[in-house]
């Protein structure tokens, strides 16, 4: 037997202390296969060892929650017998090494998490962060990631309906690719991953196992260095065609009660899927590895257990259902092989050619996996206010053009036109609005979905940043008329062994927790991605929030484009003119300083509820939340894709025009109200004690502020639509 040296331990991403612990749990030395399995289960990606104690603090319950974190995905109730299954996951490291396949398999993996639970996926979303556009790798990575996301979603036939794309130099050597999938399921047809019963068949379905992706999860749990390119073989290769077959075959099998438990083979492949099912059911599992369908010859037990080949599932079947299930998978030309059975040993037993090659107590891999309370430090804030007097004066028109034509604010249709947004014929609001709207098939209700992040805010003040993203996500759902239900989060951070990074993580979560609790907006699923960085340079703390809301009765969506001439524009929420950390400073002066705007949860909630009420009463023509860029950017976004401009008033109170037009104060919305409805809207808002102001009117042809700016609508469109096409 091969001797386990320190080098081998290190290569498996395990610490010497952890290895000692393994020996203690086994009461002996592990062999290489067993070491590989420990390394797959104990890495950060699978074990959440650095994050678990913090994640536990998040609110995960609510009347609307059917399933919180801990399953393949979260589930929320949307009334009648319908439920929505959703989750977001990162695929950052593979996407940097091989952008097309990395992004594609990110989409494939998250889709399996959703249909494993019995849901038909109905929407895909993504949040992608790249380095500076001028960095030599950015263009190729952007192209590859966008084609990969599109390539997978378009082929499998699930619409990619919303997302965000951002650029910042801290992602130069570590891009972020987060994919979210949303599915619809009948409440009484939800499938879980908890094994039940001894002697039940363990069935392998889907693609054959190859040597791709071995140790993918361990790679995702380490920092990059100059040799990262060498890790290319650990990136999996996706086949959306097979996944489409797997999706249809699984949903067909799920029509009756043959399945006891089902788990997709994602990170750490056969290892984590079998261990997780056994662990949840307090059972053992025995696998005959020579039965596993292999794509390549002479694959060893080690390779079979650690491969991350895509489009595979592990199912525990009810006795006597094997033949029927097999027929379904054969119809779809997929592998169906009984590779083992459940046992009462509480051990993972691995046999190969009748010989036991490895045996590990399930608890040692799952329940006894390490948990770290890593040291962390609170952020030291710079208390000095940023001195705006030292800035060179700039004209409002010039500043607006600079923002609207910047990579971060330019229209993203170059990206979204590469995604099929309409397949399944239920996309009522496509991307480009505050949130996408997907109708529930053959019903008149719909869900709204959005993903959001604010990494700069999180960097400068993690607690406020954490609160702000939850609120922004909530606002985005409100402004399309949806009642926000719950979120999933993808927590992208740097190295957790660094106390400051761990502090960013802990404090961002404090903020997320506070906002989620206040807004009754629980976290039902999520994913943590640490070690995003290269050679000690870490990315901005980038928690990404994906939210789902309910529209009980769907009408033609409002969208955020102006609808009519001479409508009255009102702004909900107060403007204080907060410019620190603003796009105005970043795009015009390359200054990223100070604190993010304060988040007042009470105002946020009251304003949101008021807007939702007005939309539901059909009193609003169009609506938009005010976020990055402030009031003027939000207003111009409403004009850009419409046939109308606006004539915007000057502020009555704030003397500083820049602060008024570009300040990023939270909790604000712009509503377009027709003259006929204005009185009613005014009355509702006054009765509800909601702060609002009339800020202008819509008009034909021009976007203008008297004496300050006047831009022809066609020009405004061009300014916002040129960057990607010229890049």
């Amino acid at each position: 037997m091969m001797e386990i040296t320190n080098t081998i331990i290190e290569k498996h991403g395990l610490k010497i202390e952890e290895y000692k612990n393994i020996k203690k749990l086994l009461n002996r030395n592990p062999n290489l296969l067993e070491l590989g399995i420990f390394s797959a289960m104990w890495n950060e990606h699978c074990s959440y060892k650095s994050s678990r104690i913090h994640l536990k603090k998040l609110p995960t319950k609510g009347k609307q929650v059917i399933q919180g974190p801990g399953e393949n995905a979260g589930v929320v109730d949307i009334g009648d017998d319908d439920a929505i299954v959703f989750k977001i996951e990162s695929h950052n490291h593979p996407s940097y090494i091989e952008p097309y396949q990395g992004a594609a398999t990110g989409v494939g993996g998250i889709l399996r998490d959703v249909f494993t639970m019995g849901a038909r996926p109905i929407a895909l979303l993504n949040s992608i962060h790249f380095g500076s556009p001028s960095h030599p790798k950015t263009k190729g990575l952007l192209n590859g990631v966008v084609s990969g996301i599109g390539g997978y979603g378009n082929c499998i036939g699930i619409p990619t309906v919303a997302g965000e794309t951002k650029f910042n130099e801290t992602y130069n050597e570590n891009i972020l690719v987060n994919a979210m999938a949303v599915g619809h399921v009948k409440k009484d047809k939800i499938f879980y991953s908890k094994a039940k019963g001894v002697g039940k068949s363990v069935v392998y379905v889907g693609s054959k196992t190859g040597r791709d992706g071995i140790h993918g999860a361990s790679m995702a749990s380490a920092e990059f260095d100059e040799n990262s390119e060498e890790k290319k073989p650990t990136v999996q290769v996706g086949d959306p065609f097979t996944e489409k077959l797997l999706l249809e075959a699984c949903l067909e099998l799920m029509r009756d009660d043959s399945i006891i438990a089902i788990q997709d083979m994602g990170a750490a492949g056969l290892t984590s899927s079998s261990v997780e099912m056994a662990s949840k059911g307090s059972l053992g599992i025995e696998l005959n590895l020579d039965k596993v369908p292999c794509r390549e010859e002479n694959m060893t037990p080690y390779e079979i257990m650690l491969s991350e080949s895509q489009e595979r599932m592990l199912i525990i079947l009810e006795n006597g259902m094997e033949e029927k299930a097999k027929k379904i998978f054969e119809k779809w030309d997929l592998n169906f092989t009984i590779i083992g059975k459940t046992t009462n040993t509480k051990k993972l037993t691995l046999k190969y050619k009748d010989k036991t090659e490895g045996e590990i107590p399930i608890d040692a891999l799952a329940a006894n996996a390490p948990v770290y309370d890593r040291k962390w430090t609170r952020k030291n804030y710079n208390k000095n206010k940023f001195d705006f007097k030292k800035l060179k004066k700039i004209k409002i028109e010039e500043a607006l053009i600079k923002i609207l034509s910047s990579p971060n604010h330019s229209n993203k249709s170059w990206i979204t036109n590469q995604y099929d947004q309409m397949v399944m014929c239920d996309t009522a609001q496509r991307s480009g609005s505050d949130a996408a709207i997907i109708r529930i098939h053959n019903k008149d209700k719909a869900i709204a979905v959005s993903v959001d992040s604010s990494a700069n805010y999180c960097k400068s003040h993690p607690i406020t940043g954490g609160k702000q993203i939850v609120c922004e996500n909530w606002r985005n759902l409100i402004s399309v008329g949806a009642r926000p239900l719950a979120i999933t989060n993808c927590l992208n951070f740097g190295n957790p062994e660094n106390h400051e990074i761990m502090g960013e993580f802990a404090e961002c979560l404090e903020g997320i927790k506070e906002a989620c609790e206040f807004l009754n907006y629980p976290v039902v699923s999520g994913n943590v991605s640490f070690y995003n960085g290269t050679n000690k340079r870490n990315i901005l703390p980038t928690p990404v929030i994906g939210g789902v809301g309910l529209i009980k009765k769907i009408f033609k969506p409002l969208g955020h484009s102006f609808k009519k001439d001479k409508s009255i524009l009102i702004k909900i929420g107060k403007t204080f003119g907060h410019l620190e950390q603003s796009c105005f400073l970043k795009e015009n002066y390359s200054i990223i300083e100070g604190r993010p705007p304060e988040v007042n949860l009470t105002n946020e909630k009251n304003n949101g509820e008021a807007v939702l009420k007005l939309i539901n009463e059909n009193l609003i023509e169009s609506s938009h939340d005010v976020s990055n860029g402030g009031l003027l950017v939000a207003l111009s976004e409403m004009a850009i894709n419409s046939n109308f401009g606006a004539k915007i008033d000057k502020p009555k109170k704030l003397n500083n025009l820049i602060e008024y037009y570009f300040g990023e104060d939270q909790g604000r919305y712009i509503l377009e109200v027709s003259e006929d409805n204005f009185k009613k809207v005014e009355k509702t808002l006054k009765n509800g004690n909601i702060y609002f102001e009339k800020i202008g009117v819509t008009q034909e042809k021009f976007f203008e502020i008297e004496g300050e700016l006047k831009i022809d609508l066609n020009n405004l469109f061009k300014i916002n639509n040129q960057w990607y096409n010229n890049y």
Binding site: N154, C155, S413, Q418, V423, I554, F555
Partner: protein
């Protein structure tokens, strides 16, 4: 009116077209690609998607599948055949329609609403449209760049076999209004008997005001007649 929708592994607009057909009062059946016979149908639809993963070449493997012989027989006996997107690609692979669909001019997948013009309204597929009517229809494809030889091009003109052309909002047919590089801005064509229509745009996506618009409805009401 009875319709059949052929389902290949990798078809992904099969449910969409079935929903549309049922909404338009067709009696519809789904037909799995391994079937050796077709139910009695007035209309056969080959839906969009990525049949057989688009491996080898879009539509190539589906064009040689078991059920396709039956589709060819039905077509030759005058049954109405509608191929949308991947269905159009499959029809060119079978030879039921001439020409081919190349990779888009800009080498990227395109999904957006485009304007198309009704070039012939005297067919079973388009009688409810006005001649030269401009429709806004969604396209979603990687290989929609129609190409054919000059002989077929002449035939298409002479026999009035072009169904739809890409145009702008005002109906101008120009390079600027051509999303994918198709020759003569062609978005859909008929065979010479005009019982087969292949088109890249997706009419089944345009039958509902809440989702998009209703510009696709008249294709189905025409067929119903």
């Amino acid at each position: 009116m009875k319709s059949s929708v052929i389902v290949f592994p990798g078809s992904n607009c099969d449910r969409d077209i079935a929903t549309a057909l049922e909404k338009m009062q067709f009696k519809n059946q789904m037909v799995w690609h391994k079937e050796t016979s077709l139910p009695k149908s007035d209309l056969i639809v080959i839906p969009g998607g990525f049949s057989y993963g688009d491996y080898l070449r879009s539509g190539a493997i589906a064009g040689k599948s078991i059920i396709i012989d039956e589709v060819i027989k039905a077509a030759n006996s005058g049954c109405l055949i509608l191929g949308i997107c991947n269905g159009f690609q499959i029809l060119t692979e079978t030879g039921l329609l001439k020409g081919t669909l190349l990779r888009n001019r800009d080498l990227k997948f395109i999904n957006r609403d485009v304007n198309i013009k009704v070039m012939n309204n005297e067919t079973k597929f388009t009688s409810k449209y006005k001649l030269n009517e401009i429709l806004k229809i969604n396209i979603a494809h990687n290989e929609g760049n129609f190409f054919t030889d000059s002989k077929h091009r002449d035939q298409l003109k002479k026999e009035n076999l072009v169904a739809f052309k890409y145009c702008d909002e005002k109906g101008n047919i120009s390079e600027g209004s051509n999303p994918n590089g198709s020759i003569d801005n062609i978005a859909g064509i008929y065979n010479s008997k005009k019982n087969i229509l292949g088109m890249m745009p997706h009419p089944e996506r345009m039958i509902d005001q809440i989702i998009s618009n209703t510009d696709g409805v008249n294709l189905f009401t025409s067929l119903m007649n």
